[in-house]
């Protein structure tokens, strides 16, 4: 099975989970984030859920990085982190603005335009 992570200097005390194990965890985390985004109505929690999805991508990236024995994936995570922080800052500012307007965080209250 080539999808083994126990290459090179894998820590000795760990046995050898395959890449797929990590990918399953990552995919489930991604799915949970998606489900949360779709079901929660609190704007802040919704954004938290996109962060969860980013986090899932980060986990996959690190696992891949480990598998390919290069650092590119980890580097990518740094930038994902940066973008997540930037998005979070703006999203939270927007949420504050929205909350001031309608005194609620309910996403369903913003439905004036349709059709």
């Amino acid at each position: 099975m080539s999808a083994i992570l126990a290459q090179a200097d894998y820590p000795a005390l760990m046995s050898a989970p395959t890449l797929f194990h990590y990918l399953v965890v990552s995919a489930f985390m991604f799915g949970l984030g998606l489900v949360g985004f779709l079901t929660r109505r609190n704007l802040i929690i919704m954004f938290l859920c996109t962060e969860l999805m980013f986090q899932a991508a980060g986990l996959a990236l690190v696992a891949f990085s480990r598998f390919h024995l290069n650092h590119t994936g980890e580097t990518f995570v740094i930038f994902v982190l940066t973008v997540a922080a930037a998005e979070a800052a703006m999203a939270l500012a927007l949420v504050v603005l929205l909350f001031r307007r309608k005194e609620t965080l309910d996403a369903e209250r913003w439905e004036e335009m349709r059709g």
């Binding site: 999808a3 194990h21 986090q55 690190v62 650092h71 909350f99 965080l105």
Partner: protein, 313 residues
């Protein structure tokens, strides 16, 4: 090479997970959250059990199970907990567990950076805003929570959609993961980075007393340190250059995660760093613009703010 896992088993277990999540989502009346969490966890466990049965030799270790269970369990709580503050805190837990997984994967720097940056900084901001923007709950009762926090929207359809995607993704991964081209066994592409760190090698050798106090690593004719990474040897000599010899590099002298990451970041992605900087600047500006509060200008201040004639169409 057979499939990593029987696809139908995988899809079935995804469905079990979906059922669990659907049950666990908050809803009006009694929500069977515990049952849901149990069912969902059973689905996930089933996937790993199935993986373990077919690849018993590579059964992952306890840490992996522990951290992924915490990560996914708290992720489930993030999306199911009716109280935003708790959800955010569970997100912190997810991050921490992810850090555990990172460390298991040998990405120490990213693991700790994640704790500091994500759990430490970003999530605190979230908590801040949540507290700012939520009516202070008077009693510790769920009823005191806003309706939009207590009742989730379209739990069934959303779960089906989400887990359809998870099933399809994992299914495709299961098919493709076996044929990803990997580095040849025994080869570590990162080893070459050692060439970039003559100082570290020199220090290690000196600490292990493999070279003398005055010896330095020599430079080859092409300007690079005279190392032979295949044989893991290095040519060292005294400063005068009179005496040259070859010293072995011990097997445990290798580029650490932080060093490798730094080289990757600086050497291969300097442009990305700059763009990230611009993004952060832009985001700061955006946050400032968005979150400004209304101020009332006095009558005499208006001309100063808008200039004479500025306001006359």
């Amino acid at each position: 090479m057979g499939p990593l896992i029987n696809p139908w088993l995988l899809y079935g277990l995804c469905a079990v997970g979906a059922a669990g999540v659907a049950l666990a989502l908050p809803r009006r009346g009694v929500s069977p959250q515990v049952v849901g969490a149990g069912v969902g966890g059973a689905g996930l466990l089933g996937v790993f059990a199935a993986l373990g049965v077919s690849n018993a030799a590579h059964l992952p270790n306890l840490h992996f199970y522990l951290f992924s269970a915490i990560a996914l369990g708290s992720a489930l709580r993030v999306i199911t907990h009716p109280r935003p503050v708790y959800a955010a805190l569970f997100f912190v837990l997810t991050i921490l567990a992810s850090c555990g997984l990172y460390i298991v994967l040998g990405a120490e720097f990213m693991g700790f950076a994640l704790v500091i940056v994500y759990a430490g900084a970003i999530l605190i901001t979230y908590l801040f805003v949540i507290m700012l923007a939520t009516q202070a709950p008077t009693a510790d009762r769920v009823d005191a929570l806003s309706e939009y926090d207590r009742v989730s929207r379209e739990p069934l359809v959303a779960t089906i959609v989400g887990f359809l995607m998870v099933g399809a993704l994992t299914g495709m991964m299961a098919r493709g993961v076996g044929t990803i081209p990997a580095p040849a066994p025994g080869a570590d592409p990162r080893a070459g980075l050692l060439m970039m760190l003559p100082g570290k090698v020199e220090r290690e050798l000196r600490e292990r007393a493999l070279i003398g106090r005055d010896d330095v690593i020599l430079t080859a004719s092409d300007g690079l340190p005279a190392m032979d990474l295949a044989a893991r040897t290095v040519r060292v000599g005294s400063p005068g250059g009179a005496e040259q010899r070859t010293a072995p590099i011990p097997a445990d002298v290798r580029v650490s995660n932080v060093e490798g990451l730094a080289f990757e970041l600086i050497a291969n992605h300097p442009g990305a760093i700059e763009i990230a900087g611009v993004i952060l600047l832009m985001a700061m500006l955006g946050a400032v613009v968005l979150a400004r509060k209304k101020v009332d200008l006095d009558e005499h201040e208006r001309p100063a703010a808008f200039g004479p004639g500025g306001g006359h169409p």
